[in-house]
Symmetry: C3
Subunit: 109 residues, 3 copies
Amino acid sequence: MIRRAYQKPMPTTYVTVPPEHADEIAETLVEERLAACVNRVATNSTYRWDGEVHHDDEVVLLAKTTDGAYEALEERVLELHPHEVPCIERFDESHVLESFAEWRAESIE
Amino acid sequence: MIRRAYQKPMPTTYVTVPPEHADEIAETLVEERLAACVNRVATNSTYRWDGEVHHDDEVVLLAKTTDGAYEALEERVLELHPHEVPCIERFDESHVLESFAEWRAESIE
Amino acid sequence: MIRRAYQKPMPTTYVTVPPEHADEIAETLVEERLAACVNRVATNSTYRWDGEVHHDDEVVLLAKTTDGAYEALEERVLELHPHEVPCIERFDESHVLESFAEWRAESIE
């Protein structure tokens, strides 16, 4: 039996970034083969900081990666991100179309 | 004990499509009772193809379906989608508001 | 061993709301410490109602909360939401950057 990378759960990484950093972070993750694809979505974020409620325009990056590349991707985002405590979350997919999973694994590993 | 459909995990299907196909695919999934609801979100996608990094405007379709309808929805998206290897991913919800889960199951099955 | 709140799975709550209610609901969840952060994303929703297919502009609220606060957040959204059967779904993250998880737990509990 050959165990293929795409048989493990495949994670989508959810990262919020300031709009002026979205291009660079998305491109770097794809160029360095840490993500096969990054979907960018415009968002407005409401959060509490120093006891005050703030609103900021941001971009959600949904980075399609593999189990094996997740930790390296998280570290790279931490290096590139301008904030000290960025939102970096992992959501595991319970199924992925097989041909897409293959393409994704080959784009990364 | 009656086992109801909405007691199984309910999946959200994450599909990316070219903007000009978003309307047709979203409507078809709802009309054919493969999804109770489809949320469309504008996105810009960064990916590698033939060794080059590309950027495309796309639409993310978040199709709210049931465990029982997931496979048929996946097959239908494959038929309607203009790409050979589309992004079709399944994310299972760990909880759904009960009245919404009931509405969703009734809209589909 | 100290068991910290952020070692439990952390949920993202996915809620769709009419655009004119998005501000109030997002702010209330953060002000009342039911969510550390709410990301708002514009969407167009396709769904079936009374046998007809409808399209509405809505906003997806992605509320970053904790396991302990999830039920209270769900109840509060039900009170504030103008619809009888709103879309309220829970997605558990399988990993969160530790410093972000700490900030999130402290913002809520």
